[in-house]
């Protein structure tokens, strides 16, 4: 099994606004860190050629969606909190709205499966509605894969 994760953030300004310029400039180097990280499997991309583009979707223009797949929990944790990505995370208030909503979810997928954004958003909704369980969980309330 592989670990899929989705996280969302609400932008403080349109993605092409000057307020977001520093964030957009970080997309390419930080995504490169992810792509090279141990245990990285896949991530959702808008474009194979332009690394500054964020994923386009129908969930609202101000909503930024990240989704990726990892071999293990530790692989994902080490990327999120033990690379340069941590510094970007600490600056989140500069670019994203503060929120009390749960903004990130994880779930297990069969190896080789590539999740869709709709699938990820449904997992996030499940986590928000029902709390953490085997189908949708977080680092703090982690669930090991259930054998089918």
């Amino acid at each position: 099994m592989h670990l899929a994760q989705l996280n969302v953030a609400r932008l403080l300004a349109p993605i092409d606004a000057p307020e977001l310029a520093e964030f957009v400039a970080l997309l390419e180097p930080i995504n490169a860190v992810a792509d090279a990280a141990p245990g990285f499997v896949w991530r959702l991309k808008e474009s194979e050629t332009d690394p500054t583009l964020t994923y386009q979707h129908d969930f609202g223009d101000e909503l930024l969606i990240n989704m990726s797949v990892w071999q293990t929990r530790d692989d994902l944790w080490n990327y999120v909190y033990r690379t340069r990505h941590l510094g970007v995370l600490q600056r989140r208030r500069e670019w994203f709205q503060r929120t009390l909503e749960i903004a990130s979810v994880m779930w297990w997928i069969p190896e080789g499966h590539l999740p869709t954004a709709a699938e990820g958003m449904a997992r996030l909704a499940a986590l928000r509605d029902r709390g953490a369980g085997p189908e949708a969980f977080t680092f703090k309330e982690f669930h090991e894969p259930v054998s089918i």
Partner: protein, 207 residues
């Protein structure tokens, strides 16, 4: 193995030197290397290393060490030692702030009060600053600083348990604390690496 027994195993000075040697190396260490590093015989080193492994202060494995010893047996996997991951705590009488720290960190996160916590950490660091003494201060506080090229990295995170639970908050506080300790002597920056502290330092010029 309880914590008191594990800590008591460090009473022997040779054993303690071996533990510190393996811990400071930050990687797998073979018996020969440890014996040479501490200046004791290989047999004595092996005895104490295995004692340390028995109480859980070291972990063991087998690895093919580089072919520094040609001839028969050179290709055989050798027993290697690395520092155990579990922390040991002894306080007499019992005092334990970990649970409390976890709860408070969670509350700070929920209240979105990280800015105040980071400012408090910066003030605490400033109080600890002694010009020219930042490396010694970091060493005393268990960060285990070591040099790598032009930067000083920290092998150990003294706040690991709470940092694992609230990395955004604790790593931000730790950066502020570390910058306070270094003062004008060095610049602390967030430079996380798996298994180590999240901060590294570059020395400031003319210091």
């Amino acid at each position: 193995m309880n914590d008191l027994d594990a800590v008591a195993a460090l009473h022997d000075p040779v054993r303690r030197a071996l533990y510190e040697f393996v811990a400071a190396s930050g990687r797998d260490v073979g018996r020969n290397e440890a014996a040479e590093g501490v200046g004791v015989s290989r047999t004595l080193a092996a005895f104490h290393l295995d004692k340390l492994a028995e109480v859980g202060l070291l972990e063991t494995g087998f690895a093919r060490l580089s072919a520094t010893r040609p001839g028969p047996g050179a290709g055989r996997p050798a027993k290697v030692y690395r520092r155990g991951r579990t922390s040991r705590y002894v306080a007499v009488p019992e005092r334990d702030f970990r649970e409390l720290a976890s709860l408070l960190a969670e509350v700070v996160g929920d209240l979105d009060a990280a800015d105040g916590a980071i400012a408090a950490a910066a003030r605490a660091g400033k109080k600890l600053h002694e010009p020219g003494g930042w490396l010694a201060t970091l060493r005393d506080r268990g960060y285990e600083p070591y040099r790598q090229d032009d930067v000083v990295r920290l092998r150990n995170c003294p706040f690991q348990q709470v940092a694992d639970e609230q990395p955004l908050l604790v790593c931000s506080m730790n950066l502020a604390l570390c910058q306070g300790i270094a003062g004008d002597d060095a610049t602390a920056e967030l430079d996380p690496k798996p298994g180590e502290c999240c901060v590294s330092f570059s020395k400031n010029k003319n210091r």
